[in-house]
Symmetry: C2
Subunit: 415 residues, 2 copies
């Protein structure tokens, strides 16, 4: 596709310039971009109005409209986001380790940018400034392919950031938006092997699946989370209840929310009524297996499909197990390798769960909701990787970098 090849060339060329910028040059530009967003918020809001008008015309849900909506306060939040990225320490140039080999060569492993990063994302315009700032801070060029619903908002944001780049004599190719929002541009991006060093999709399970099946560029899978909390027989049930309530209801639409409660049979009778009562406030629909049903007043029977579903809603599946091993087997079979938690005071059980569960993040006695780059202390998050290559779990600035070996010699040749 012509547009993407052109964006790819410009991004690759810009990446060479970005890789050599000093930290203070990058931070300075990010601060200027933040100021520009606020100065030109009227332009952003006018563009956002266009998107919102179209959304209403198309009868898009109120929830989706809210995700799309910007106002003065939200534009300030976008600008603050850029300033926060400016304040983060810059991983580029850092030499992780350096040693002298047998030949007397001094070999160092130095952090460098990845090069050109592609992002495919859905409706929220804040991803545009978040992704652009994180990529810029790490010396990467970025090609953004946002959803058509947010096109005018995204375009306004990218235009303002590009104006700041130009004022600083930096190439516009550093931050670019794909104008074609048809499926064709998304597919072309997945095959842009000449230009993209990595493609990061952010969106629903459908998008992730399509990218995984079709992309020939390197990708980082993000975000689908079929997360479990397992309540072991000896759990502090009050603690377990609080964690289940938090993991299920604090923000049910996000990937680190819990979808299935796994319960040891010994505590069914005591624990399930506690959980049902606590979750009633949020009208959580309970879908329980045969053994759990008798202990619940308003549950419906769970189906096989429920074990593998990321509800992202006030719905909770409940699975009974005879022992820890069965809990581990169930979770490893149905999870999406995101976040899993055991509630127990049994040391051996906690260790076994920690080591045997295959997921990006495994918790003992804590809510799955903590899986987040900010909460982990990274100061940023470009997404949560659920694959094993390159990055796993919350991705901060370091995950947007690669390394190169730098070798200092004194004339050595290989014998």
């Amino acid at each position: 596709m012509e547009e993407l090849n052109q964006l790819g060339q410009q991004a690759k060329s810009a990446a060479q310039t970005l890789a050599l910028l000093s930290t203070s040059e990058k931070n300075n530009v990010l601060e200027q971009m933040a100021n520009a967003l606020i100065e030109k918020s009227h332009i952003i809001l006018a563009a956002n109005d266009q998107d919102l008008a179209k959304a209403q015309e198309n009868g898009i849900s109120e929830v989706m409209q809210d995700r799309l909506r910007l106002n003065e306060e939200r534009v300030h939040a976008l600008a603050d986001g850029l300033r926060q990225v400016a304040a983060l320490s810059d991983p580029i140039g850092e030499v992780e380790k350096m040693w002298v080999n047998e030949d007397g060569l001094r070999i160092g492993k130095q952090r460098v940018p990845l090069g050109v990063i592609g992002m495919i994302f859905e409706s929220r315009p804040n991803v545009t400034t978040d992704a652009a700032s994180l990529c810029f801070k790490t010396g990467n060029a970025v090609i953004l392919r946002g959803g058509k619903e947010a096109f005018h908002s995204n375009l306004a944001l990218v235009n303002i950031m590009q104006e700041t780049l130009e004022k600083n004599h930096l190439p516009k190719g550093a931050i670019q938006l794909v104008h074609d929002t048809t499926r064709a541009s998304s597919t072309a991006m997945m095959k842009l092997t000449d230009y993209l060093d990595v493609l990061i999709p952010r969106g629903g399970a459908g998008l992730i699946r399509t990218v995984k099946e079709q992309a020939t560029v390197p990708i980082i899978e993000t975000g689908t989370g079929n997360c479990h909390v397992y309540v072991h027989q000896d759990a502090d049930l009050e603690m377990a209840k609080n964690i289940v309530v938090n993991a299920k209801t604090q923000r049910p639409s996000v990937c680190n929310a819990m979808e299935t409660l796994v319960v040891h049979e010994d505590v069914l009778a005591e624990f399930l009524p506690m959980v049902e009562q606590a979750l009633a406030f949020w009208h959580v629909e309970l879908r329980a297996d045969e053994r759990a049903l008798p202990f619940l007043k308003n549950a419906i029977p769970a189906t096989e499909a429920d074990w593998g579903t990321e509800f992202l809603d006030y719905i909770l599946a409940i699975k009974t197990v005879d022992h820890l091993e069965e809990a581990i087997l169930h979770i490893n079979r149905y999870n999406t390798k995101h976040s899993e938690s055991i509630i127990t005071n049994d040391y051996m059980a906690s260790q076994k769960f920690l080591q045997q569960i295959d997921a990006a993040v495994v918790y003992i006695n804590a809510s799955t909701r903590f899986t987040d780059g900010f909460v982990f202390g990274f100061g940023a998050e470009i997404g949560i990787s659920t694959q094993k290559l390159h990055a796993r779990g919350p991705m901060g600035l370091a995950e947007l970098t690669s390394t190169k070996y730098i070798v200092y010699g004194e004339g050595q040749v290989r014998g």
Copy 2:
């Protein structure tokens, strides 16, 4: 493809067992495998004879036959390779860092296996035992798809390793060979997204290109090396000559051999005759640009295609530049991001080259031939990555691992 789906399922199941083995269990099995290879060397050599007979029948070159050939000494080398892998320290389980976040959660980043690794490789049977042992040591299941020329040899080696696995009550799915050696199995492997966590192709530029264009599983590109040595105006020319001779002739068929000499115009007259004389011993064919030609007796004119060619032979392209910046531009344009070296005593020039060259390994005053996992001190090498995601440069055991976050809580919920 039926065969690959079956191998994939078995590998995925085996990977769960492998991930939990202790280091001593793994080392013990590797030692037993080494012993078994030697005890059953007659079976391996008989199988190798079949492959060699077929190679002769098909008129395959003597060089290729030599790559394929095994004998008692070489079988001992394979066994020694397994023992060396057993002796390496095991990265699995290592917690790279651990910290306490604001919520009081103790968060650790622990090394875990990748899961299932696929390898597509060409004729050399030693890749079979190398790859199998490195994957086994890191708790990964491996699916090996070797070239049809070495099929009987590979099968004998894998059978012996599987027998050792079975004796130790370990699943054969840990180390498997694809029996179908048609192109179809290779293509199917590139699309095996349900089972493969990563696919590592090892072979010529054609194989790498095909994998890069077709694979939808995560890959690590390896091995193509269009490497340069740049001789700056102030270089110690005696040192430069030794490095050029080493980088070009010590083993011209490998990826870290030099293909193009880049020379500053100021030293053309003095340096090129020195190089020509030194390389004459190996009958190196020189292909020089217009400005270099007058200083060489037996060179032929270089074409545009020569700048982008990995000769893997006694051929050297020679490019003249006016200044360092032109050298950097030329190298970044034509290189395969493998290994590049500058010969200079100018501090500022050396720093600029080190930072601005985009390659897995950048040298000052040393031969490109040092790019190698053993030379770097990793004790092993599964390949040399020329991509930026996950691993770059020589890959040892650590590059065959992923991480997971382990989080110790005391009932924390997200506010």
